[in-house]
């Protein structure tokens, strides 16, 4: 009986963060636990970069753990690892905040789950990882212990658990249909109802409309590094789920397309009503994830390229969130200027400005997309651009709250992420599209990428001049919040009658008067004498 077969590295990539999580509760480590965070994703990063390949299986763990990595997973794994690593660095200033150890511990747990969803190749492991990433991230959200953090956390946990249940039931149905726990077979055998449950589970995580309601609350509520990983990496768990399980041709395809588009545009519009730049970013995430869901549903080469698209979005979104954190401590004009420049560049990339990583990722997914869809994609770039322009305005107006040492160091982190977002797509272009390196620089692709930006540049001043009315984050939420409140605070009710009281109606049945009548000898004697003929008769018949 082999304990572990295949390469050890994938398993190590998951176990290492867990070890660090365990380590961070030790009294000796507790006070410097935050220092461990950058180290946690390193094995995962190494796994993504190194060519380590093949299937790892640990038959004794869970229901038999199987881990493997194919291109889509690898690129997302790499992005996730990088983002977590840099976010971990960005989290260093939190070291002296209260409950740092708790934050570190759950950070590592979430990370392990997040890496796990990309590696898992059996249903049980995938479910474990998915549950880990979605439930433990609750601690990242509520870490600041503010009222709105708790509110967001409550909404999040309720919806997340609903998602878990849907996911579990879907996986069970799938596993039963496939007669196996291997994801590949489940994906091949799964039927539409089960897939519907899975889509619900994944959609919640991926912020798919209308399951996204938690996201605009939760992402801003978390500390900046938390928001970065939530919005950049963790949402991708839902995406990989769709990529793994959604059959190439599914009855759900049109629905997903519709919901995705609704999210892509609706969230972009609603985001314009947000004052808090982090909330704006959150809505941009909803919008971007909507796009990706739509692309997954489109299938074919587009679907193949979605990881490539997601990688860029993750890096860029991480950069923007970290940038908000930096802007909060930027006091000098230079610092603020640098922030705005970096923000604009990254935003432009997300909007798909020519020659940026964003443009490449959009170009990559556009091939194999029907014309109407690719036009919609370009149109969505306009909305994204406007939303991010609005984000830049809000960022520019952001009042620096605290100061912190090492502004430069902290500025370099989003800068690094932004650079990766801009350049990494170039590096991977040929592997992922099979087109020659020069393609993005071609005239028509430039034009294709340019006109949305142009429109944005034209419209942005109007947006700045006449902003949309401000709205609180969270749109279709109030009903859910009430539900969440009710569930979270079980009102005391008078306990029902537990045990019936013990009352035999003996007093009615066995009155002493009757007993006394029996007791009177004359009666008893008469009965006795009457009994004789009775018995006699019975004996003779």
């Amino acid at each position: 009986m082999t304990l572990i077969a295949g390469p050890l590295l994938p398993l190590a990539a998951l176990v290492w963060p867990l070890l660090l999580a365990g380590l961070s509760v030790l009294p000796a480590v507790r006070h410097n636990a935050i220092r461990l965070l950058p180290l946690a994703p390193l094995p995962g990063l190494w796994l993504a970069l190194s060519g380590v390949d093949g299937v790892t299986s640990a038959p004794d763990l869970l229901l038999g753990v199987t881990l493997a990595l194919e291109p889509g997973g690898r690129i997302l794994l790499g992005m996730t690892a990088v983002l977590w690593c840099i976010a971990g660095l960005a989290a260093q200033p939190m070291a002296r905040r209260p409950n740092a150890a708790l934050f570190a511990g759950f950070w590592c747990l979430t990370l392990a789950g997040n890496l796990g969803v990309f590696l898992a190749r059996d249903v049980a492991t995938f479910y474990v990882a998915f549950a880990a990433v979605s439930l433990t991230s609750w601690f990242l959200i509520v870490h600041d212990r503010t009222a709105e953090a708790f509110r967001a956390g409550r909404v999040y946990i309720v919806i997340a658990i609903l998602g878990e249940v849907a996911l579990l039931l879907g996986l069970i149905l799938g596993a039963q249909a496939a007669g196996s726990l291997a994801i590949a077979e489940v994906a091949a055998a799964i039927e539409t109802p089960a897939m519907g449950l899975l889509v619900a589970g994944f959609g919640i995580k991926a912020g798919l409309v209308p399951l996204h309601v938690w996201l605009p609350l939760a992402h801003p509520a978390a500390p900046v590094p938390g928001s970065a990983v939530l919005s950049g990496a963790i949402v991708k768990a839902g995406l990989i789920g769709l990529l793994l399980f959604l059959p190439p041709v599914s009855a759900l395809g049109p629905i997903l397309t519709g919901l995705g588009l609704a999210g892509a545009f609706g969230a972009a519009v609603w985001g314009l009503t947000q004052a808090n730049p982090k909330a704006v970013l959150a809505y941009s995430t909803v919008s971007q994830m909507g796009l990706m869901v739509m692309l997954v549903a489109a299938g074919g080469a587009t679907r193949e390229a979605v990881p490539y698209f997601a990688m860029h979005h993750g890096l860029a979104k991480g950069a923007l969130f970290l940038l908000v954190g930096v802007a909060l401590i930027s006091r000098t004009r230079w610092q603020r200027a640098l922030c705005l420049v970096l923000g604009t560049v990254t935003a432009a990339s997300v909007a798909g400005a020519p020659l940026t990583g964003g443009a490449l990722s959009k170009a990559a997914v556009k091939q194999g997309l029907e014309p109407w869809a690719s036009h919609l994609l370009s149109l969505s770039s306009v909305f994204t651009g406007l939303l991010l322009a609005w984000f830049m305005f809000r960022l520019a107006r952001l009042e620096p709250s605290g100061t912190g040492p090492g502004w430069t160091a902290r500025f370099l982190l989003p800068a690094l992420l932004a650079a990766l977002a801009l350049l990494a797509p170039w590096a991977l272009w040929q592997d992922w599209t099979g087109l020659e390196q020069g393609y993005p620089a071609k005239a028509d692709s430039l034009r294709d990428a340019f006109w949305p930006v142009a429109v944005v540049v034209v419209l942005a001043p109007f947006l700045a001049r006449w902003p949309m009315p401000t709205q609180p984050p969270g749109d279709v939420l109030s009903a859910l919040v009430r539900l969440g409140r009710r569930i979270a605070s079980a009102r005391p009710r008078p306990p029902g009658k537990i045990a019936p009281q013990f009352r035999l109606p003996a007093r009615q049945i066995a009155p002493s008067a009757l007993e006394a009548a029996f007791g009177r000898w004359s009666n008893a004697g008469t009965v006795l004498l009457l009994l004789i003929p009775l018995i006699l008769v019975l004996l003779l018949v």
């Binding site: 006394a516 007791g519 009177r520 000898w521 004359s522 004697g525 008469t526 004498l529």
Partner: protein, 101 residues
């Protein structure tokens, strides 16, 4: 009507009377007397039963004598009890039957 039948009928009559007294009477002493009546009636009947076929059957005699002894001792104990009860309660009756009269 042979003597045997006469014996038997007498016995039956005694038993009947005895049972009536035993049930009707409330004074305990009467009941003891009724009890003895029944006993005597049974013994008479038994004696008659022993006289089947002319020749004397020893067994009934033995039984009757034993029975009389037993009945005597029973009566003795009963009377003793009645006396004790009468001393304790003032009347030779069972409490539940001691109503008025």
């Amino acid at each position: 009507m042979s003597g045997v039948t006469l014996y038997a009928l007498t016995g039956a009559a005694l038993v009947g009377t005895g049972f009536f007294g035993l049930i009707a009477a409330r004074h305990l002493l009467r009941r003891v007397l009724a009890f003895n009546l029944i006993g005597s009636g049974l013994f008479v009947y038994l004696g008659a039963a022993g006289a089947r076929g002319g020749e004397a059957d020893p067994v009934p005699q033995a039984l009757i004598i034993t029975g009389i002894v037993v009945a005597l001792s029973a009566s003795a104990l009963a009377v003793g009890l009645i006396v004790a009860l009468a001393r304790a309660r003032g009347r030779a009756m069972l409490p539940e039957e001691d109503v008025g009269g």
